[in-house]
């Protein structure tokens, strides 16, 4: 079993997948915590930021088109034309977050039209060790199983 995780049966008595309890909770603990990174940026910069995030061993992310809520008067005052945004949802390993958030902070400050906001929300549990390994990019566990 990868990572020495203990599998748990669910309340119905069936075990459709192995439950991974993430750190901070009782029971079997996963060695690497995961967090959901939510990044809100200009629509035109979504791909740029997704490439950056992907370089931090992020295997799963998706972007949704969105709109900012700034009032028309404020946009006129600032000389802006649209409020098109993209919200990027990425599953990131907690041990990568220091580096990644530092990079994002730098890019938000220095890239033209690259201003954005990012927040992270910790995962508390997950079902399925193979999904967990995929999200953690635990390549060694996959190789070890073969």
């Amino acid at each position: 079993m990868p990572f020495g995780l203990k599998s748990k049966k669910n309340k119905t008595g069936n075990a459709p997948g192995k439950q991974v309890q993430l750190p901070g909770k009782t029971g079997s603990e996963a060695p690497l915590a995961l967090e959901l990174l939510i990044t809100i940026v200009e629509k035109s910069k979504a791909e740029f930021y997704m490439d950056i995030i992907q370089s931090y061993e992020v295997n799963f992310q998706f972007a949704a088109p969105a709109q900012g809520t700034a009032k028309a008067e404020l946009l006129d005052y600032l000389g802006l034309t649209d409020t098109d945004k993209a919200v990027i949802f990425s599953v990131v390993r907690a041990d990568k977050l220091d580096e990644l958030t530092y990079t994002l902070e730098t890019k938000f400050r220095t890239v033209r039209n690259g201003k954005g906001v990012a927040v992270t929300v910790p995962f508390t549990s997950m079902i399925g060790t193979s999904v967990y390994a995929f999200l953690c990019n635990a390549v060694s566990s996959v190789k070890g199983e073969k």
Partner: protein, 104 residues
Amino acid sequence: MNENSGYEMIFCIINSGFSETVMDAAREAGARGGTVIRARGTASKEAEETFGITIHPDKEVLMILVPKDIKDAVLEAVYKSAGMSTAGQGIAFSMAVNRTVGLQ
């Protein structure tokens, strides 16, 4: 980057077209801005019949990042302006965020 930042993310799931109403109420309670994602609801037909309500499938998800100390006031404002008993049929909840980037 700010760890354990003292911010919370409020998610409001509302009928399409009500994001302005919610945002106006949230602003009055101290929120600065938000981001709207278009979405579709998936309530079951049976539940609609049982509770005697019609679920408008076109939804908007409004995400508002606020300091923890005004979270309750913003949630209350959102509930009053577009709660389940209003035409907005909104559901709102908040999640604590670990880190924030880009707020300064």
